[in-house]
Subunit: 152 residues, 3 copies
Amino acid sequence: MRIIGISFLILILEIVMIEQIEITLPSFKRGYHLITDLIEEKLQRLPETGLVHILLQHTSAAISLNENADPSVRYDFETFMNKLVPDNDPMFIHIDEGGDDMPAHLKSSLIGASLTIPITCHRLNLGTWQGIYLCEFRNYGGRRKLVVTILS
Amino acid sequence: MRIIGISFLILILEIVMIEQIEITLPSFKRGYHLITDLIEEKLQRLPETGLVHILLQHTSAAISLNENADPSVRYDFETFMNKLVPDNDPMFIHIDEGGDDMPAHLKSSLIGASLTIPITCHRLNLGTWQGIYLCEFRNYGGRRKLVVTILS
Amino acid sequence: MRIIGISFLILILEIVMIEQIEITLPSFKRGYHLITDLIEEKLQRLPETGLVHILLQHTSAAISLNENADPSVRYDFETFMNKLVPDNDPMFIHIDEGGDDMPAHLKSSLIGASLTIPITCHRLNLGTWQGIYLCEFRNYGGRRKLVVTILS
């Protein structure tokens, strides 16, 4: 019985656990912003292997993985997406909350409001050039909230 | 041994389990439809903390998180996405299944066919304004099937 | 005590575990390519029930679920996405890495660089017509790397 007891202990140490935290981001201006460092700071002591899921709890912003080095990429994102879904387009009927509101909803579903990222060797296992973007589509979006779930 | 036995029991109650159910949605007409309530009804007794993953098993529809209050948002989604990827565009060669078929495939990959949502305090932890959309891109899409996996 | 010991064993067999592997894909030419078989080959002995998460560790390619039968769908994807985000568009300022680079970054965030797929009865539980696409947006993208995490 003692031997069986010890083998249980070993198994339990390898078992998956779920943790959850909330992160309230600082207010960002309209555009694309690298928030990888900001998130990693809040995720101290990551497990050896696992998954992190991040939900942005908003419908007029998005989160995405993209190029983490050259700010001109983020600039071109803003230019392109504003041309794809123009503010104040007369085709929209949902206009009460401002000319940037309906375009923000559309961009949010096109880019997406959640990410899942593997954890390997206690770190977010992103590609060399991958960073986490907060995509702020409103002129005055305010502070955005993330729910982060860690499977470890 | 009795004490060790009890401590195992406590640990096991905190451990992650996987459950899976299938949901067959009613037939929806082309457009964007709130299905949050419909999904929550099927997910009774959610765990305290966890994740729900939803896969839509189709390539001509999508699921997305977006504004859950004003139907004009869903109306504008239909208008915008139909302008972005027009039916019967002569550039398409995949036309045997109708003029709405290839546009539906494209919209499906642009919006996405799966969602992961955190569970907190036994509920889907969506933002105040977030709801789950079924995005039906076909004129007659029929009943769509979801595979729902709950990590708890 | 012996009875309790046996009941622990049964519980532990149902418990979630995390495994991770890396897959380096062969080099694909620009376009949309079915890689379901290639991934399933590497995922031998899947658990009865679970989730597979796949991260593409790149910012100029994407992975997506879409139609797995008719190659004309993948052809139309290439045509449409190139019209949506044209190479060498003069609006872009991030041009040092070639005229296909900034469009590739944009397409990557529009389609997405990760997928989560349910496992049911030891198989990827995709819809009848769903396959996994590698979306190669660069003219010479080279070999792409996936991090695959299995919750089982």
